[in-house]
């Protein structure tokens, strides 16, 4: 679907990314894993087209340029409009594409139901818990049926139990929608549980160290799979080695 070729990006004297190459295929679930400051978020913004690389290129298959709504983005904060209801927040991407409220409402309610927020359409963000706000944010990202879903540490600010539930629901959603997900995280556990491909990144300058393929069967049961514990151990070990180098 997408090919990053020797991508580099610097901000003033800080080299955020150097020589990053990565292929992302249709239906992939890729975790970009690394400590703070390794350029994970910058990479995600480059993929989204919100920023341009200084060197190298971000190429889509067959020169296809993604159209509005083909990419969904979920930020670390839910970043909802505080004055708008859950339904209106989810309506936003469709509204910006010129769809009328009547046309959109069916899709909006479908998206809310998909993230388990059926019955909360009229709730305002401040009336929802942190986990529910994040669910609205995910519904907003998937309402356009994107081919590619980019997520920037979306669950980092949630408590452990809420995070587990959202991770499991995200896997179910990924299955259901069949989209591609690139998920930025600094949690080894999260990367190991969610992703099919775990891409290890190191900071200063941000680089891809190498990539680990997950042997797990994705799903809630994976948490109790000994292979999950082994994967976490492997990733931890290789991350330590990469950071020490």
């Amino acid at each position: 679907m997408l090919h990053l070729g020797s991508v580099g990006r610097r901000f003033g004297s800080v080299e955020a990314l150097r020589d990053v190459s990565l292929d992302i295929g249709n239906g992939d679930f890729v975790a970009l894993l690394g400590p703070s400051g390794c350029g994970k978020s910058t990479l995600l913004r480059l993929i989204a087209g919100l920023d341009q690389p200084d060197t190298g290129s971000v190429m889509w298959d067959k020169g296809h340029q993604p159209t509005q709504g083909e990419i969904g983005f979920v930020f670390q904060d839910a970043t909802l409009l505080p004055w708008a209801s859950a339904a209106d927040n989810v309506f936003l991407p469709l509204r910006l594409r010129g769809m009328s409220r009547d046309q959109a409402m069916q899709l909006v309610h479908e998206a809310l139901a998909r993230v388990g927020l059926h019955g909360f359409a009229q709730s305002l963000p401040r009336q929802l818990s942190g986990g529910m706000r994040m669910r609205v944010s995910i519904a907003r990202a998937v309402v356009t049926r994107p081919r590619l879903l980019l997520m920037d540490e979306p669950f980092a600010a949630l408590d452990e139990f809420t995070r587990h539930k959202l991770q499991e629901d995200l896997l179910a959603l990924w299955h259901e929608l069949g989209c591609t997900i690139v998920f930025v995280t600094h949690s080894i556990y999260e990367a190991a549980f969610l992703a099919r491909r775990i891409v290890l990144m190191t900071p200063r300058p941000g680089r891809i160290d190498h990539e680990i393929a997950s042997p797990l069967r994705p799903g809630a049961a994976a948490r109790f799979d000994p292979a999950y514990a082994a994967l976490v151990a492997q990733v931890t070990h290789e991350m330590q080695r990469a950071l020490a180098a």
Binding site: F73, T79, L92, L96
Partner: protein, 249 residues
């Protein structure tokens, strides 16, 4: 606790009245509260008509300041060039003492009502302008990115993101500007004197001063204070209501 301000106020009024009576201070020096009330009751319609005249100037100026403030704030939010061009002049306007330029404005504008409104507008303009500009810039960067991602143009981003985000800031600015518009109206009336509109409360204060009707002067002053308090509370309640109705208060 809730009644503390009222009780304190009443105590001060009683002490004031007592002091004036015991020391036999003549009312042309310091009138007691009762004398002030009596002065008001002697000509309530005249003073209230003057109050209405001053409030008319105040609200006209507040309306112009708010409209101009929002338009210019949107202008500087949408263009760096306009921001660079406008911002310094807004500050110049803010730091210029209105007392110093009011006589010029009164001469230039000609129409006394319009001249007073211009003066009060200059005083009231800055808070609503600066607050709205800050509010327009307050939209979180991630949301701005999200709008970009979905291909939203400048107008759509302004309408659906920046303006709604600026609303609480605008309302806070409006509240400050409301009080300042009253101050501006009064200052302009003072400067204009009898050459101006000659009907506002400030003119009544001047007039009563010349005639040594000190209790009437105080009565006009009290009305001004009450008007200022009412504007402040009214705009505060208005802001709270708008935000509550919108749901994010």
């Amino acid at each position: 606790m809730k009644y503390a301000p009222t009780l304190f106020g009443v105590a001060v009024l009683i002490a004031w009245e007592a002091a004036v009576r015991i020391a036999q201070v003549p009312s042309y020096l310091v009138p007691g509260p009762l004398a002030i009330v009596a002065a008001f009751l002697a000509d309530p319609s005249g003073l209230l008509a003057s109050l209405a005249s001053t409030l008319l100037v105040t609200f006209a100026a507040l309306f112009v300041a708010a409209s101009l403030g929002v338009v210019l704030a949107v202008a500087i939010a949408s263009s760096r060039l306009l921001a660079a061009a406008i911002q310094p002049w807004a500050v110049v306007l803010q730091v210029t003492p209105i007392v110093a330029i009011a006589p010029l404005i009164i001469v230039w504008v000609g129409n006394p009502f319009a001249a007073l409104v211009v003066c009060a507008t200059i005083v009231a303009f800055f808070p609503v302008f600066a607050n709205t500009a800050a509010g327009l810039a307050s939209a979180p960067a991630e949301l701005v990115d999200l709008f970009r991602l979905y291909g939203a143009g400048r107008i759509a981003t302004l309408r659906l993101l920046r303006l709604p985000a600026a609303l609480p800031y605008f309302l806070a600015g409006l509240r400050i500007s409301g009080g300042l518009a009253l101050v501006g109206a009064v200052v302009a009336e003072f400067v204009a004197g009898s050459g101006g509109f000659a009907s506002g409360l400030a003119y009544r204060i001047l007039e009563a001063g010349y005639r040594l009707q000190i209790p009437r002067m105080f009565a006009a002053l009290v009305l001004l204070s009450l008007a200022g308090i009412a504007i402040n509370f009214g705009l505060g309640a208005f802001a709270a209501m708008v935000i509550r109705r919108r749901g994010d208060g």
